[in-house]
Symmetry: C2
Subunit: 443 residues, 2 copies
Amino acid sequence: MNTGPARGMRDFLPEDVRRRQYVIDVVRRVYERYGFEPLETPALENIETLTGKYGEEGNQLIYKVLKRGEGEATGQADLALRYDLTVPLARVVADNRGKLPRFFKRYQIQPVWRADRPARGRFREFYQCDVDAIGSTSAVVEVEMISAVSEVLQSLGFRDFVVQLNHRGLLTAMLDAAGVEAGKHGDALVAIDKLDKIGRDGVIDDMAARGISREAAQSALDRAASDEVPAGSAPAENISAILALCENTPAKGHVKFTPRLARGLSYYTGAIMEIAVEGIGSLGGGGRYDGLIGMFSGEQIPACGFSLGLERILVVMGERNMFPEHVQAAGPDVLVTIFDEPLTAESLRLATELRAGGLRAEIYSEPLRGGKDLGKAFKYASARKTRFATVLGTSEADAQTVKIKDLVTGEQAVASRSAVAIWIKEQMKIRPTSDLQPPPSAS
Amino acid sequence: MNTGPARGMRDFLPEDVRRRQYVIDVVRRVYERYGFEPLETPALENIETLTGKYGEEGNQLIYKVLKRGEGEATGQADLALRYDLTVPLARVVADNRGKLPRFFKRYQIQPVWRADRPARGRFREFYQCDVDAIGSTSAVVEVEMISAVSEVLQSLGFRDFVVQLNHRGLLTAMLDAAGVEAGKHGDALVAIDKLDKIGRDGVIDDMAARGISREAAQSALDRAASDEVPAGSAPAENISAILALCENTPAKGHVKFTPRLARGLSYYTGAIMEIAVEGIGSLGGGGRYDGLIGMFSGEQIPACGFSLGLERILVVMGERNMFPEHVQAAGPDVLVTIFDEPLTAESLRLATELRAGGLRAEIYSEPLRGGKDLGKAFKYASARKTRFATVLGTSEADAQTVKIKDLVTGEQAVASRSAVAIWIKEQMKIRPTSDLQPPPSAS
């Protein structure tokens, strides 16, 4: 029997979940501080909600779910799994007009599913952390997005990130000026997007293969190499305003006009942005999409959003050892042993007291046969990275005391029952586990 | 275009998410304090992992997902959506033998999907909060489960709950003694389980219709009405031990031997438990299942678990007004307005300062045209339950001050830039929003 997860899916053991939870908590805390509010949508959507929203290729990657009852016979699918968080948002906004505030700023942290071919770092179930602002065309919205995302990365310990910034209107103007005909703009952008990967000559070959003249291709690349925001047009003014305003936020020094930034999705209508980290690639991106919500509501509603890729962030943080100590070793604080069977009730009372005292206390549920299995229990605690273990024999029960063993230093102490929790918490403060070397006997 | 969620599914707007998050955080905190560790499994499982685990009826309620690519033509399904959290746990334990601690105590809080007919309080996507302990047959495990679940309910504000306790072995003995033949035990338990709903006579009729003699039925019900744990057998000793040990934990006074408690699932092998709240019904249940993991690992591994139903808990807490104030009104603390377009940068700086000062600050992204739209912005803030709004005009910018309006009291104050965040936080402490009446002008 195959006991592994399905292909492209992952089980998250406790250490994995703690790391994920840590990053999600940071993201959530920062977004809340910016006034964004949480939204959650169902994993399953009506199939018509999703089809036709992600292009030809996207359509094929949507997981489709058999219709209840008769579907099993006919093979008919009526539901589909969430493919991103933007289309469900657009549906919810259309469905709740009047109920939502005029400016609806929401964040959403949920998994999405894509039937993509699995590869290193590419999974079929993965989390997105999205933040979107609905209802305003002001450049302040883009600035707030960039600022919030920058603060998330800084809070996680990233220093070397750049928020690349461009505008769909500037890309169009650049390609026009270079002599790329309008019908080839999409092809040209796909090619230019690969500049970092395949180099200048590669891009020119690629564009030529797509029927764009080498002269136009070269001209486009020359223009895309400039760092100056071209003057005069409305898109240029928008980008200049965003760049200038970002200097008043935590994004200061991190935003860079990047004329070759294209972004794949076709629904963007204004500013586009992407987070680049040296040697890593993209940790997320976004932009303004003033048309998408209208597909659901019939009414044109401006919107701008940003999506952080949780999985990529986790991989980089793991490689760079960026998780704080308390996330790495987050097992129970203390193991409560049962010295002998008749002492079970007293040991449960001790565990209850320790938990009431704010400690994470695990009970070793098998009695230690009058201490014969103490070594077994200590070994179990050490393997779980639990630093303290309590021993409560008949004499301790009579005296209302407890023996406490520090499994890292090997030290032992006796404390009165009313003082155990305080004593352990003091020890954790005086000598945090990260400062300690294991005792010779344990190595 | 249909903009609603799919049938039986729900969108969670910000207030809903906050309530859900609050309960989930409490559950997680308590379980962690007991030494349970988090596990997460994928939403999609190989279809063979799930089929045959939930009985005939369960099989039909599993959502099946079309195979990537060719599935769309053939209608073949190779994946299925998580139906509960116990079967995936059994698979993970079998898949990670050696990697997991000898006693693996995990909690898991994730959605499951069932293609059930939607009804009041019954949804097709719903969360379960499971806690399971693998590897020990000790009664201490059951005690810890009951204790943890009781502490979760107490932390949420429940006082009137009873953890009903019974044992599969006692049910068998009771039915044997009543003269119900072994082949009819399953039928008898289904009928007895309905006692609260259809009454004594209803149950006897039901059992008679299932081919059980009225004499045996009456005898079984008489025995099920007793509050005494029958003496002598191993199951009876197990139940007596659990009851006695629970008195040393937060479950004290909440556990009740309930001989008619049957629990539907067939995989239980020992103690079974269910949380009953007067007038509400069950908030969750569990029991010992020493055989299930063996279905995946081939090796018999003892286990015991408990599942809390998040959705039911949320409904009851909503009806009884049990959510604390800070969950109800959790919008931003302060709305930062932009008095006029040229003051945008200065207003962004103010927002950055307030956030650094620990406040949740939202920017009203449209400039107020020299104050003409101040009323609009205040109205927006009030609708969002945001108590404070800042106004920063040219004179304030020059003097490095800010005007702050308390939208609940109507009061206005001027503070120096360096003191704004502190001032607002003080106000929130001196007069919490819950103590305040809206000013006459706002009513």
